[in-house]
Symmetry: C2
Subunit: 178 residues, 2 copies
């Protein structure tokens, strides 16, 4: 399974930290990269690249000025599009079908998502039908799609080439430096 994340409508300075959380959650839970639209943000890109360099593995961040065209192109290339929205269908009712796709583009919006996205999406998916957080919705979706394997110790081997890594600890911190 390949997973990419598209973050729509990044706004500065308002979304600085939330989009950073979207990127780091994507990376930590096994997506191969993030595409973001809205305002171009060099500081965001540098920050995500710095963390990927230090903590290992491969993870891409890529700006897209025309997200609708990008979604259309990725659909043509065989990606299934799962748009996360509190208006959508409950995740447990759809997760099996989505996980059956080989390539999944998970789309998360900021304040207002264009109506075209709902139409283009193969799946409009709710992680509960209550207002909460696109970060929370993304995390649970990635967890469910992968059957929880991204939380296992063994998954940390995906983050090869790290200059820093952690050993799980009951109390305190066990830090390994390369």
């Amino acid at each position: 399974m390949r997973i990419m994340v598209l973050r729509l409508g990044h706004r500065l300075p308002r979304d600085e930290r939330v989009t950073t959380h979207v990127c780091l959650t994507s990376r930590a839970f096994g997506a191969e990269g993030v595409i973001y639209s809205g305002q171009k943000d060099n500081s965001l890109e540098a920050s995500v690249k710095r963390i990927s360099d230090n903590w290992g593995g491969k993870f891409s961040i890529d700006y897209e000025a025309k997200p609708i065209a990008r979604i259309e192109k990725m659909k043509k290339d065989g990606w299934a599009v799962a748009h996360l929205t509190m208006y959508g269908m409950p995740l447990p009712e759809k997760v099996g079908e989505i996980a059956g796709k080989g390539r999944i583009l998970v789309v998360v919006g900021a304040e207002k998502v264009p109506a075209e996205v709902y139409q283009l999406a193969d799946f409009n998916i709710a992680i509960g039908n209550q207002p909460h957080s696109e970060i929370a919705a993304l995390a649970i979706t990635l967890d469910r799609l992968q059957g929880g394997k991204e939380l296992e110790r063994a998954f940390q081997s995906n983050f090869g080439g790290a200059s820093i890594s952690l050993e799980p600890a009951e109390k305190g911190k066990k830090i390994r430096k390369a």
Copy 2:
């Protein structure tokens, strides 16, 4: 099972949106309330109360100037403390034991968490040993503790007295107003 969330070290304006996401995620996924420490934030409290009033159910938000003393008091009152940190033990290895507790206080930090919290915690729990997001960590923890029931349609009946609610939709938005 009763779940409360403690958000440590709220800073203004830096954490405004992230702490809001922590609160809304807690509410949407079945915690009964949030306690937050750091800087008092009337706007945060008003925003969370407004959403709870509109979207139904019961959810509390409460400021605590002395979070360490509060953790100690809650432990005496029988709450098990699960501190979420990338330095901790993998969630899948501990979730059964934590879920066996009747009352669970889930603690999420901001930038730097005092060493005392690691010591006071009954469980230091990692949602993956990579840097990501306390919102993501909280969401997955609440999901796993409750066996996913908070994502089911039936769970929405917990949000009684709402003036607005949603009907799951394949495309677009189905909004009900009371």
